[in-house]
Symmetry: C2
Subunit: 341 residues, 2 copies
């Protein structure tokens, strides 16, 4: 990465994890973890024990790396905790489930501020609390000897409450394609921060603390959604995963996307920075919207907006008949993240 | 760390994850992941869905960092996979449960060999296979911009099969203290490798691929064990956790430890290197033995050896009446890892 190291205040030496020590750090962080309603055994043992009312458990892992997924000068500790939790909780919602618990694997330099890590824990706890979920376990180790960066690996668990899981494989020709949540706001906020600005606040906040439409996941499952995933790499890329895994073509409508999703701070920021707000909508990830398909005639739950339909053309995504890759290239974007550039 | 960077062969450039790309890498690694008998939805979706026959799920996370927990010149890719899995599966066993699945959060440099990562996946799959468990999900991201090291965060899930979980809090005065598995072998192997040797093979293998006594965990739960944990930081440190969390004193017997656990390659290597083999037994972690307490008169399951008893003295661990800290200091060791030195 060519950007300079984030300029963050040097932490109080007495407050660094190297001085505080592993066990005091864990005690302080655990005190911020909240309480998981379904936990029989919580943090502090070899493993947590969690009730699984559905008789199945939904589980996923997402890794956030300092300097790639967050910067300490752009996001507060609480922001990082909210964002790390949200990325995982959205994956749980995308299966049609409700989050029940988080576990956190943390690698951090000995010089990391323990107070900063408490802030991360508090942010995670706050993001989980509406579900009665909390951090129930984890592990804390020193970063690699060659690294001065924090790595957070978060695992989320969820409960299906009797619903069938909604996978990526069930989209059928004739289905409706719909989205819940925001598209492009986090990418817009990142563009603002990259230019050195901190406003408009709504855009920057969307980058720092995504607000996935959690309830829309189980609601989609209840309404008969045939396929679903969360939008973490951008709509074109993630709709592409549904299309590929289901073996169908997604025909999206540009007008529907432009009319319903170019909103909030997007037009203003795009005008100021000379960009195309629709590019953010189509290729911006990290808002953790949900994209799903519904059988023809299904009544969409609250918060879902139709953006196109499924047909039996060659598997992939088209926008007004233009292939996704061409659409993205025309906007100067590639669909989805290149994680190893 | 003052040691030089591991000398590993430069990978074939065409085989690096930066060239192979995230999606091909995931496909190759997933092909090695094995099949989890309880998985309804496995790798490749937003989250995995796993049956939880007990109605509860046991879950834990452990992080392994290159240069701290493994070195690529000391351990093969398969070794690293085995070791990363074993550290977690032992935590599941220590609750009295049987492993059902793993998830893996991976941060690695773009220059990492994809074949090496396939080897890690194969090692994990092999360690899980006896339980019908497998890797059911995960996430792969690029390392921090300042790091050329691999970070593996592994989450394990397990099923209690109707057993009550065995926590760290249930030891009572009068209980018997017992250990299953090896103590000090991995530390002995590490000492061998640090001196530049690669034999005796049994010691080096113990460092590379620990062999936790998995079946001894559920067996202990069935036999009425009152408290249990795995030995990952050394016997004195981990028995200390049980003692502290239960509010009791563990009185260990040196003769029992010396007679039963100074075995295999330990005496020979200690003689050659001029060390005390009992120091490895008392303070060496990473064999992932299990230490547990049983009510007086309980019949110990196969593989468990009595090493002392619980009394109502000041909470802590003593060996022949000498406090653990003093015992360790006399041997030139500190009990347990200092994770942020």
């Amino acid at each position: 990465m060519s950007r300079p190291r984030p300029l963050v205040p040097r932490p109080d030496l007495a407050d660094t994890v190297g001085v505080v020590g592993e066990f005091d750090l864990i005690a302080r962080v655990t005190a911020r973890a909240g309480t998981a309603g379904l936990a029989e055994v919580g943090p502090g043992d070899d493993a947590a024990v969690l009730r699984a009312p559905d008789g199945r458990v939904v589980v996923c892992t997402d890794v956030l790396v300092e300097g790639r997924h967050f910067r300490r000068d752009w996001s507060s500790a609480e922001d990082v905790g909210h964002k790390a939790a949200a990325a995982n909780l959205a994956d749980i919602a995308a299966m049609g489930a409700v989050p029940t618990a988080l576990l956190v694997g943390l690698a951090c330099p000995a010089g990391t501020s323990a107070s900063w890590l408490e802030g991360v824990a508090a942010g995670m706890a706050a993001e989980c609390a509406p579900f009665g979920a909390a951090v129930v376990g984890g592990d804390t180790v020193a970063s690699a000897p060659d690294s001065d960066s924090v790595v957070l690996s978060v695992t989320a668990l969820g409960d299906l409450g009797g619903r069938a899981p909604v996978t990526r494989r069930g989209a059928r020709p004739g289905d409706v394609v719909a989205v819940a949540g925001r598209l492009g706001w986090a990418a817009c906020g990142l563009a603002v921060l990259r230019r050195g600005f901190t406003s408009p606040a709504a855009a920057v906040a969307a980058h720092r603390r995504p607000t996935p439409p959690y309830a829309a996941g189980p609601a989609a499952a209840d309404a008969g959604a045939t396929a679903m995933c969360d939008v973490s790499d951008g709509l074109l890329a993630d709709a592409g995963h549904l299309a590929a895994d289901s073996g169908v073509r997604f025909a999206l409508r540009r007008a529907s996307l432009a009319n319903n999703f170019v909103s909030g701070p997007l037009p203003q920021v795009a005008a100021a920075l000379g960009g195309n707000p629709l590019a953010w909508v189509l290729t911006g990830g990290e808002d953790h919207a949900l994209v799903a398909t519904y059988p023809p005639g299904a009544e969409l739950p609250e918060g879902w907006t139709t953006i196109g339909s499924v047909d039996d053309g060659e598997p992939g995504v088209v926008v007004d008949d233009v292939p996704a890759r061409q659409v993205a290239a025309d906007m100067g974007e590639v669909p989805g993240h290149a994680h190893f550039g």
